[in-house]
Symmetry: C4
């Protein structure tokens, strides 16, 4: 395994973070890591338990979903990853989980309202929930169309995938992405905790107002943009 | 212990998974593993703490509920296991737990609605809740009748136990089964997480619609049947 | 420390189980173990972190609440333990915790309804919640009166402390007891899980009916009485 | 690192307690420890993962928010800590987290009602939630103004920061403090469990009454003041 060593190891490490962060049961999740220069990504093999994973077992796939290297079958969600890498520049990691709280919001087909600064530290809008796909898309090339469902929902909302790095797919579950696979995993954990707190917030006060504009702007800009002052 | 070694070890390993997966408190659960050629199954002894279990302590019982080998008293739920093995072909493992979320749906005497793909990856219908048993059945051979309550509810619903591998018994708790004891334990964990997410889904949106038919079919067939493409 | 060795060690072991079972935060709980022949019990010292406990640090107190041996101040709840040992025969262990779900039912001043067999395996009635104490009792010898509040609520309900081994004290938290300290700790864990499931049951179905009489009787008698057949 | 050794180590140890107590995800929290004689405090560097922290990495800041020693950028919330140390005597530790339940009450802009003795063991009033700040304050020196928002809300309520050692900042998250950094961390954990139980209490009984005055007084005085008898 001299080839694709870096993305294999990156994808392996990022996949192993999912059970550590409590984001997956059994094999219900997958992470990929892309090498844009070579136009490929490494992704978890389908249905292999986390404790049996090794960097070698990662499957190398191009941005059209063709297997380039690897002996195992890649994640069944591979084509969704491929579509996102192909159509969205600047992302090098994608995560799909069925984490409990985020998936419940997806099942409820409800955007996660921006209720607090924990949310605004990461994005300035409600976390969007794409509607369930049409029967035509489902019966067609399902995982490929899932990628377009995500891209089209962002287009419709006018969102930039560099600024909003997460989405719920209605009735299904969340996808997150980022500049690195590590950042995409981080986004999945943030999404899960924000999803949990948003549910509790409404249970405490059904009329909880959303975060005011000034606070959204302030918190997002603390962590992002030219004047950010969070971190080292 | 040269005899029944394989099912003793299989049952032992499967029982030990229950506390690891957070599905049991103290001794509130049991797993059996069957050897259909010999017409027997190995089951956890009654009330023995998990940390004191060994393969040797598993009790060997036939499909009429008679003890064939073992020095300890078998699980008090043994006859329920026996009835299911006797009347349902093709299952080689059965699990009973009082896991928190699944048991709460059983106590609420409510089927778990199919709200998302996590559910549809495993079965295509609501997870059925059998009604509490009649007083006559309860005062008769209770655990034996519990087996028939399960079988009769499946008959009434027209469900195939090869396709739907889990049920709630009203006011009581869940039972799951599978081709292997390992698969039956897997089904218990899936049931628990699906039960958790279904409750949250309705808390987020009381009017959450069920999963559409095309998605149910798509996700179930990704993992099952001749055209499945999940796993290796 | 040759003296009271057995109850010191029993109380120590039982206290150490509380954090392992997730029933206490910091020092919010205490267990005692009695020696009825000598009319004393060993109890956790007040406010000492669990990781600093040793059998030697347990305080020996008589059934009137007088310190008999030990250099540390006993738990502030010591007099409640003393009253229960003095007035209720046959109990050799008492536990007090502020475990999350049981305490929430106590704060809600609500009995925990008997919704399922997990509950009926342990007691045949709703888990009682004693009303908050009168101002006179609170301003008097508070912890001593807490013991009487428990005893009087049982008298009023006509309950036998050998059959019902747990109570909630309104606005405060749960107490459990048993033939041994180990059994009392077991009861605290059972109470916590039953309290959790009862809340979820009502969230799933506000109209959840209570367990029918035949099931209550059946499950309780499986585990208790002359015809029990649970355990070894 | 001969200098500020004690507060660096105290701040380090207290910060490391946050993930152990389940109060932070990633870097979403910070603890400071003050040396009032020298008019400085040690605080966590901004955005550094807990597992990479060392006492050396703590940043030394004075009570006006100026960096005195340290090579890393301090927590983005540093000025809030500085304001509280400068204006409130007797506190030597401050904690900020985004712990799940406390933050959800903050997002719901709701005081946490005093429902039980677990709450009254620590404070005698509802846990206050300061309103979200004005746009002027947010757009000004935000973290500095957050400190004043806290101080002004206490003034308005007539609360003494020696008696009430915790607050929620509306839409944001909790702050706690204490005579030591260790005590401030303890208060954050107490707040989180009280926040969890208060939500559950209302879910069990929407009409749950608050704790009666005599019980509030009794429990607070068991642990505080000249006649306290809790602990050693």
């Amino acid at each position: 395994m001299t080839d694709y060593k870096l993305i294999r190891e990156t994808a392996y490490e990022a996949n192993m973070e999912l059970p550590r962060l409590g984001l997956v049961l059994f094999t219900f999740g997958n992470v990929s890591a892309a090498d844009r220069d070579r136009g490929v990504f490494a992704i978890k093999p389908s249905g292999v338990p986390y404790k049996e994973l090794t960097p070698d077992k990662m499957v190398i796939v191009d941005f059209d979903g063709n297997i380039v290297a690897g002996t195992l079958r890649p994640s069944s969600d591979t084509k969704t990853h491929a579509v996102l890498y192909k159509h969205w520049d600047g992302i090098n990691g994608i995560v799909h989980t069925h984490s409990t709280y985020a998936t419940s919001w997806a099942q409820a087909q409800t955007d996660i309202p921006i209720f607090g600064t924990t949310h605004a530290d990461h994005l300035t809008v409600d976390i969007p929930c794409a509607p369930p796909m049409s029967d035509e898309m489902i019966n067609g090339d399902y995982e490929y169309e899932t990628g377009f469902q995500i891209i089209n929902h962002f287009k419709k909302l006018g969102y930039d995938h560099h600024e909003v790095e997460m989405i719920l797919v209605g009735n299904h579950a969340p996808f997150t992405w980022g500049k690195t696979a590590e950042k995409a995993v981080y986004n999945s954990a943030v999404l899960e905790t924000v999803a949990h707190m948003a549910l509790l917030t409404r249970q405490i006060n059904q009329q909880s107002p959303k975060l005011k504009e000034a606070l959204i702007k302030k918190h997002f800009e603390r962590k992002h943009g030219p004047d950010s002052y969070y971190g080292q």
